[in-house]
């Protein structure tokens, strides 16, 4: 099974621009299925991006974040070839993690 996380990170002039897309339904808890039953809220709560053992970005998400959430952020202090770790956990306790190399 492929990772739920896709990442692109590019360093330019000392600033790393990171874009990530996570596969997740992000069900809001306000939508009904075709049978009329409410689909329970199911969403990523926290996503972290870390570099050299330090968090460079922490996203706290609620159910109003779109399905298959997208995130873009920028940080200093990393260089091409460095490894980043991206991890998330959802409200049902499911989680995933991946690493990406800065280009």
């Amino acid at each position: 099974m492929a990772s739920s996380i896709r990442v692109r990170a590019v360093e330019n002039n000392g600033v790393t621009a990171l874009k990530a897309l996570v596969r997740h339904p992000m069900d809001s808890g306000f939508v009904k299925d075709s049978a009329g039953n409410v689909i329970p809220a199911h969403f990523i709560k926290v996503l972290t991006i870390s570099h050299n053992g330090k968090n460079v970005f922490v996203a706290n998400w609620g159910p109003a974040v779109s399905k298959d959430p997208f995130l873009e952020c920028r940080f200093k202090g990393a260089k091409k070839g460095d490894e980043l770790t991206i991890s998330w956990i959802d409200n049902e306790g499911a989680s995933d993690s991946t690493t990406a190399t800065i280009a």
Binding site: R8, K19, L21, R23, K67, D68, F70
Partner: protein, 279 residues
């Protein structure tokens, strides 16, 4: 053919807009269509027509470009590739059914099979490939078939659409049938496909912004925000028919395949850009 012309002329007369396609050959129809849209949107470069409403509205375009940063269909394309490369129970793969192993061939679909006397769409070919290898066919409109089709389109990006109508009365009849469908009014709203996408692209219909005919098939399968997933061209056809309160036809019915044949022929020369995102 005469019948189609009569209908088209009647439509044109009623609406007093030069939307009727009365070309004697498919190529004349196509040239007329291209010319028509060039006059309607003189500032839009030909290749930009593949981007539909995003070529015509800046606010929409910005949202689309932001989606293109990391399009939501990327997961589906990766899954499509995996399925495409995974052997069937008999050990063969999809590649065995297609020219060039199925890579970079999207621009040639749909084509008219002069032996079977019918239009073969890419999705039809995918399912026939499965069946000829002893596998169950996939559902037509979304899910696995859309992912596989999206992967195959992604290997063909930039290749100009190259639909051929062979010199064959049945092929021509299929083309004419598709053209007639496109210009025939239907449903409680009494709209034809052309009412929106030939006569009124660039305009709002309530909260939706209409795209032109030209370039539409370049994008499929598309990921619609409304769907939250990929869907095939025939899923969209059914949606459009529903919108005008007409009964949709089954995906891959002869009518929809012929419609796809006509519609895609009109976009000859424009690049494959699918999969793509739409509202």
């Amino acid at each position: 053919m005469l019948k189609a012309k009569v209908i088209l002329v009647a439509l044109g007369a009623a609406l007093a807009v030069p939307q009727a396609l009365a070309g004697a050959t498919p190529e004349e129809d196509r040239k007329e269509t291209v010319e028509y849209f060039k006059q309607m949107f003189p500032d839009v470069p030909f290749e930009e027509f593949v981007n539909g409403q995003y070529a015509l509205n800046d606010d929409r375009r910005k949202q689309w470009e932001s989606m293109q940063d990391f399009p939501p269909y990327e997961f589906a394309v990766a899954e499509g590739q995996e399925m495409f490369e995974t052997p069937f129970a008999n050990g063969k793969t999809y590649a065995s059914c297609f020219e060039n192993g199925g890579i970079g061939i999207r621009q040639n679909y749909p084509y008219f099979d002069t032996e079977k006397n019918e239009v073969i769409t890419l999705e039809l070919a995918i399912n026939r490939c499965r069946e000829s290898n002893g596998e169950e066919p996939l559902k037509w409109k979304k899910g696995a078939i859309a992912s596989i089709s999206a992967y195959m389109a992604s290997t063909s990006q930039g290749k100009p659409i190259n639909i051929k109508v062979p010199d064959d009365p049945d092929a021509l009849a299929a083309y004419q049938d598709g053209k007639e469908f496109y210009y025939s009014r239907r449903g409680q709203l009494n709209f034809s496909c052309a009412s929106c996408h030939v006569q009124n692209p660039g305009k709002w219909i309530r909260a939706d912004f209409l795209s032109p005919t030209l370039g539409q098939p370049s994008n499929f399968p598309v990921h619609r925000s409304k769907w939250g997933e990929l869907g095939t061209l025939h899923r969209r056809f059914a949606g459009c028919n529903n919108n005008v309160r007409a009964d949709p036809l089954p995906a891959q019915s002869e009518e929809y395949r012929n419609l796809e044949y006509f519609l895609t022929y009109m976009s000859n020369g424009l690049p494959v850009v699918g999969p793509a995102t739409r509202p």
